[in-house]
Amino acid sequence: MEPYEIAAAAFGVVMLVLTTRELLHRRMRPVQYSIWAIIWFALILLGIVPQFYSTLLLATQVLGMYTPIHFVTTFSILILFGMVYYLGKRIAELDDKLSTVVQHIALQPATEGVDQGKERKKHPKTQESS
């Protein structure tokens, strides 16, 4: 095995372990986990069995690319662009939600005070002491 193959396989294993841990701690949804797991397995496979590249030859030829590595890099970049777009959209959504929460918290104390006041009046012990 060449050093880069060992490095690729080792990186794939580490990432697979980390991703699995995220799933077990319920910080990742199964669908997300499946996508990442496929990517890490492919990386490990390519590290251990580099000949696996040759299986991409057909796809490479159909798309008019010179070598399998062109296929892999081109599609990796496209997928990354897609992910960046999705993440940007998701961050914007979360940013909006965060603002809503911050504004809601800011407006909360006034109503909370009124509600708490009502609750205290109803509480029997409070009524006794008063």
Binding site: L98, S99, V102, Q103, H104, I105, A106, L107, A110, T111
Partner: protein, 243 residues
């Protein structure tokens, strides 16, 4: 305006503030002479803005994170809609606006000549306005005028007065300085009457506050883009008063 007339108009003043400990107390005290309620929206200040505002008689609403001027103002509007005020005044917390000019803003509303009154720095003396702000303001005001169909000379002014009916139906969405144009475009689309009155403005030496060049481009983009967020959110329903 006579005192009894002022009492008839229940006015709430909303002041968004971020690190304004040097000016906020004086502004709150000045605003309280003309408004029944003063609400300071502390946009996560790191100084004594909230404490000084409270001591000066304002009700303080605090953001636990900094969201920006537009978001602070919409929080303030929501808080103010929970009061019994029928008119709302907004002004900056950095001392640029003079609270003594509040009656001038309220006058057209009291006379039922306008639903929104805009304090225009460009109709007043504006020789001291920094050149880049003056140029930017003119471009943005022109864009806002085109988008709203109403001639506006100072679209970025934060010194304004609104009738309650306007805020019942119109609320901006932009969290940064884009709110100033957005709410005017929304209001004009809802056939609310917009009028400008001249105001003075104080620019402190060495103080670089408010919208910058980058903000200017962002505001311009959000104002002129086709089907802007303002146009899409056009009067979709009554805005909830959260408090």
């Amino acid at each position: 305006m006579r005192t009894e007339e002022r009492l008839q108009m229940r006015v709430a003043c909303i002041i968004p503030a971020f690190n304004e400990e040097g000016t906020i107390a004086e502004i709150v005290r000045g605003a309280l002479k003309h408004c029944s309620t003063v609400i300071v929206v502390d946009d996560h200040s790191q100084d004594l803005t909230a404490e000084l505002s409270r001591k000066s008689g304002a009700r303080v609403v605090t953001h636990i994170l900094r969201l920006g001027a537009g978001a602070a103002l919409s929080t303030g509007f929501r808080a103010a809609l929970g009061t019994d005020a029928d008119t709302f005044v907004t002004m900056d917390g950095d001392g640029q606006h003079d609270p003594r000019e509040i009656p001038r803003l309220l006058e057209p509303i009291r006379n039922d000549e306008a639903d929104i009154v805009l304090g225009s720095r460009l109709l007043g003396q504006h020789e001291l306005m920094p050149l880049y702000k003056l140029m930017g303001n003119k471009v943005l005001s022109m864009a806002t005028s085109l988008a709203s169909g109403v001639r506006i000379t100072d679209s970025q002014s934060g010194f304004r007065a609104y009738k309650r009916i306007v805020l019942d139906f119109v609320m901006h969405k932009q969290r940064d300085y884009g709110w100033a144009s957005e709410i005017l475009i929304l209001a004009a689309g809802g056939s609310f009457r917009i009028r400008e009155v001249p105001i003075s403005a104080t620019y402190r030496a060495g103080q670089r506050r408010g919208a910058g060049v980058k903000d200017g481009f962002k505001i311009l983009y959000s104002t002129i883009r086709p089907k802007s967020s303002a146009a899409r959110t056009m009067i979709t329903g009554r805005v909830d008063g959260a408090v």
